[in-house]
Symmetry: C2
Subunit: 324 residues, 2 copies
């Protein structure tokens, strides 16, 4: 949970005057999210979400994220829509940070994942990928193969060794294996805009149905199946580490009800799942080592993703994920 | 900031079925408050606040707090009103904790205190004291003289010494001095229900006017002027430690526009202000020493209140607080 910036009422009122929602009657920091500061606004025209973009977000990339949300919403995806001010701009400054207001989305993210949630996610995810096809901006995935190597090079090897003996050597070997197995850019695999961080806390449900997707600040262009693999890792393992093949089947088959995977995607999927596990193993490892004690956000244990990586190393085809 | 308990949608929906506000469409943890977990609920009948009472609150005392809020609201004080369920009860269990839903209050607490804020506070505070006169429940102040001694006895003297050389000896001397100077229960001083924690984050303003008071979970029966002294300490010192006599004058004279201080209250006020500083010095000192690193709430520096205590030790009459 995190709110990094205290917004004063004077600053907020000056900011709000650029918009057309009447008076802000309340502004409360939300104890969710990690990268940015989020506030729930109550206005005369209903609730909105205010986001202040903190240091981990590159301001130059914000137009990509905000335009993407607008494009997706216009294409029928349930997601926050950036609110434009009277000047037509969605992005402005508040407390020295870039800031935007987006529409309020109904629903709650699920604390206890069921197979039904996975089914709802699968359909919404495929719709997101479909709608992203017609988005005309591009953003490279900075957290793919090369990004992993750079991040690992900046990670203290001894600190990694202290977390789990042999961890550094395993990552080095696995990065080499992934570099060989990873599909070339020329491979005939569907690519497009991916969410890249579709964890349960970014997916809302209402009355058991998926009511929307949030937090597009890792979105980028990459392989669509890689995005599915990120979800598989985030949604289909139990808290004790067991892989739940029923959840995986519901996730994948529901996704396929909208967009069937191609034979090439099914073939490469176990490699993408290993890569997706590597990506979160490395960022969690880095954060685990580099988060100062007493920081407002508690880092997550990287070993959860080491376990998932090892699981996928033993997988040879989609049957292990519940698809015949 | 703190949200200690994760509430699942299943638990929340079961809880919500006891109420008559239709469906809960959103529930977000609020990054404010220290003692309890607070959530902003959006329902079909508008916004509400859900509070889960965590371990520092004695469940046996909750009826006092909830009935007080109801009584105050009925008496015209702007404060949260506990929402009763279909069974007539305001208090029930959620995630193994006592929980209540209260009405949503418009406004924001002021991040930069002005003399105008102090004036608004003074009036609202006197109205609170007036309305509390007709409340028929009682709760002793566990954080008065005897409570201070007990708390200090449980505080590691060496840890206190490490924070500020001579701190322990100063507190011991000052506790003795306060015990001698503190008014006897028989003293003819107005007493009643006090808020006992009326810091800026518990006072909301909208359009420059005080729109309400929140967080009554330290409320108790004690001297009314002691409650004013708590506010004086919390609102009238600048971040650099300077005492702002203009703010103090506005706070006190605005309070007096509703309920003038008696001569006896004016006479004893500097002692009460020392006591009010001692109370927060001791709780901050205890929390500073006993909060584990990495806890979700950062403890506040006790030396801020040591400085305030020392300021009041040099005060002999109300002129120092801006009252002739």
């Amino acid at each position: 949970m995190a709110v990094y910036t205290e917004v004063s009422d004077e600053d907020l009122n000056a900011f709000a005057s650029a918009y057309d929602f009447g008076e802000i009657v309340s502004c409360k920091g939300i104890a969710e999210g990690v990268e940015n500061s989020n506030y729930m606004l109550q206005t005369e025209k209903g609730p909105f979400i205010l986001t202040l973009y903190e240091r981990r977000v590159n301001p130059a990339e914000l137009p990509f994220f905000l335009n993407l949300m607008e494009h997706l919403a216009r294409s029928g995806v349930q997601c926050p829509v950036p609110l434009k001010g009277k000047d037509g701009e969605a992005l402005r400054m508040l407390c020295g940070r870039p800031a935007a207001i987006v529409s309020f989305l109904k629903g709650m993210w699920p604390r206890r994942i069921t197979a039904e949630h996975c089914a709802g996610l699968g359909v919404a995810h495929a719709q997101l990928h479909h709608a992203g096809m017609s988005f005309d901006m591009q953003r490279a995935n900075s957290l793919s193969l090369n990004g992993w190597r750079e991040l690992f090079a900046r990670t203290d090897p001894q600190a990694a060794e202290n977390i789990e003996a042999g961890l550094g050597a395993l990552i080095t070997r696995e990065l080499d294996a992934l570099a060989k197995a990873w599909p070339a850019p020329s491979a005939d695999l569907p690519a497009g805009v991916i969410h890249a961080d579709l964890f349960p806390d970014n997916v809302f449900f209402l009355d058991g149905k998926c009511s929307g997707l949030i937090d597009f600040y890792f979105a980028c262009n990459d392989l669509l199946a890689y995005d599915i693999a990120i979800c598989l890792n985030a949604w289909c393992f139990e808290p004790n580490g067991d892989f739940n093949i029923t959840k995986a089947n519901r996730l994948l088959s529901s996704y396929q009800s909208v967009r069937p995977l191609t034979p090439a995607e099914r073939k490469i999927f176990p490699v993408l799942a290993r890569g997706a596990a590597m990506r979160f193993l490395l960022t969690r490892l880095y954060d685990w080592i580099n988060t100062p004690p007493g920081a407002m956000v508690k880092p997550k244990d990287p070993r959860e993703y080491l376990h998932k990586l090892n699981f996928h190393r033993g997988v040879t085809d989609m049957a292990a994920y519940g698809l015949a």
